[in-house]
């Protein structure tokens, strides 16, 4: 692999690590490469993991990502990583892998592709590990049902799914399963 790509992957992972460690904060992925989604996934995906698109629009994108990263396309219920675009994804969150109590890390990671992320103005509060008090990020281009459903799916910690929310400018916010999602 080209050295420049390798180093970009390292820089990308540092942004992802910060985003996952500090839920609700916005981290900027490095520019360049083939766009934010490819930049994000080329640091994490390979033939060891499986991928699925939650909605029909994301299925095409998932196939493209799988072709580039070597990951396998599987059914929603078995996928390690999932892509979601737009409004239709929310309902499917309940069928995804949440891991087992012996191996909770086998829960899925869902990447929501949204139009934009604001640090303030969201309808829900986030608190828990990685958050000093509370944060209220706002996501545009995502169904209102996603955050309450995430709260529902993740209520049985340590089982659950971890969310990455990526916008078109390469801004990334994460909501791991440890985050408490409350009404404001």
């Amino acid at each position: 692999m080209h050295q420049e790509q390798t180093i970009r992957d390292h820089a990308t992972f540092r942004a992802i690590l910060q985003a996952m460690s500090r839920p609700g904060t916005i981290q900027q992925l490095p520019a360049g490469g083939d766009g934010p989604l490819q930049t994000l996934l080329s640091t994490l995906l390979d033939q060891e993991v499986s991928l699925a698109g939650i909605d029909p629009a994301a299925a095409d994108l998932a196939a493209e990502v799988a072709r580039r990263t070597g990951s396998r396309i599987t059914a929603l219920e078995q996928a390690d990583f999932l892509l979601a675009i737009g409004d239709s994804a929310a309902g499917s969150l309940t069928v995804l892998k949440r891991g087992s109590s012996d191996y909770p890390e086998t829960g899925a990671t869902v990447i929501f592709l949204v139009d934009g992320i604001n640090p303030e103005g969201g309808a829900y509060s986030l608190s828990g590990p990685g958050i000093k008090d509370e944060v209220y990020p706002e996501f545009s281009g995502i169904s209102d049902k996603v955050l309450p459903l995430l709260a529902e799916v993740n209520r049985d910690f340590p089982l659950g799914i971890d969310a990455m929310i990526l916008d078109r400018q390469g801004q990334l916010t994460c909501i791991p399963r440890s985050t408490k999602i409350g009404e404001r």
Binding site: Q3, R14, S21, L45, S100
Partner: protein, 293 residues
């Protein structure tokens, strides 16, 4: 080295014949995926396929694999071994990082962006810009009370920690207080009991609601775990037998005169006299330099 310089220099393209960061891409990606899950489930040990490294397992390979999966050419790295920047293990690890990632090295905690450590957390407070990578020999806090991996996994799954509490109780019956001096078990985020690696009790409170990310790597035991910032980390204790840190009352560092750091005890082989010095050599040197200015 600046990232741009690294990219522009032909010589670095195949440094030592290895890719940037030594590990192959598949290894880095697995470590990264495990790190993210470890962050999402604070205190839970994620199994991973620990790779062969150019040093033997048990000499920091878990921490090294984590550092190599996230290091950048413009990082400033500090490596400490039991508080000391100059021990053989720390020096060798630093040389390795310089040859495979060309990072700058420092002994100053405040100047570092990534710190890899064996058995100490630096005395100076770390910031939200920094990452601390801890080398872990025995990741399983429950191993003292249960030898079976399947059984400890079940105990963690069910938060069935009664035997750990009993172990502490028996310790109090035998010794009058909890006598664990290092690897003091903690509860992370109110859920998992975790081994904080063999840091002294002195360092345990630094994990609680910190600004910094703590990443733990056990190469021989093939486990990765983590404590995100602003996470509750509570040492196990009873209402009538509280956790306490080491008592260095009345002692001071014979080099820099500090009275508020964790000390190593040095016994003079000639006359048997005892003296103390800061375990954190970088901090001690910094205080010495300030005196001599």
């Amino acid at each position: 080295m600046l990232m741009r310089e690294w990219l522009d220099s032909d010589a670095s393209l195949h440094k030592c014949g290895y890719p940037f960061g030594f590990l192959d891409d598949g290894a880095k990606k697995e470590v990264r995926r495990c790190l993210l899950k470890a962050i999402a489930i604070p205190g839970y040990q994620v199994p991973y396929g620990s790779r062969e490294m150019p040093i033997a397992r048990g000499w920091g390979t878990g921490g090294i694999q984590i550092t190599l999966s996230l290091i950048l050419p413009d990082d400033i790295l500090k490596v400490i071994d039991q508080g000391c920047d100059g021990s053989v293990n720390a020096v060798n690890i630093k040389k390795f990082y310089q040859s495979v990632a060309d990072v700058d090295i420092t002994t100053d905690t405040t100047a570092a962006t990534v710190i890899q450590t064996r058995h100490r957390i630096p005395e100076e407070p770390m910031t939200d810009e920094q990452i601390l990578v801890l080398q872990v020999p025995y990741p399983e806090a429950l191993r003292e009370v249960e030898p079976s991996e399947m059984e400890t996994r079940r105990m963690h799954a069910e938060a069935d920690y009664g035997r750990m509490w009993l172990y502490l109780y028996e310790d109090i019956v035998a010794c009058g207080e909890i006598s664990i001096s290092y690897r003091y078990p903690v509860t992370v985020n109110g859920r998992y009991i975790m081994d904080p690696s063999p840091i002294p009790r002195w360092d345990v409170p630094k994990l609680h609601m910190a600004d910094t990310i703590f990443l733990f790597g056990a190469g021989r035991e093939k486990r990765i775990y983590a404590i995100p910032p602003y996470t509750r980390v509570e040492p196990l204790e009873f209402d009538d037998h509280r956790f306490r840190v080491e008592d260095f009352d009345g002692k001071s560092c014979h080099r820099c005169g500090a009275t508020d750091t964790f000390f190593d005890e040095i016994i003079d082989s000639a006359d048997g006299g005892r003296k103390y010095c800061c375990s954190d050599s970088g901090y001690c040197d910094k205080r010495m330099a300030a005196w001599n200015r």
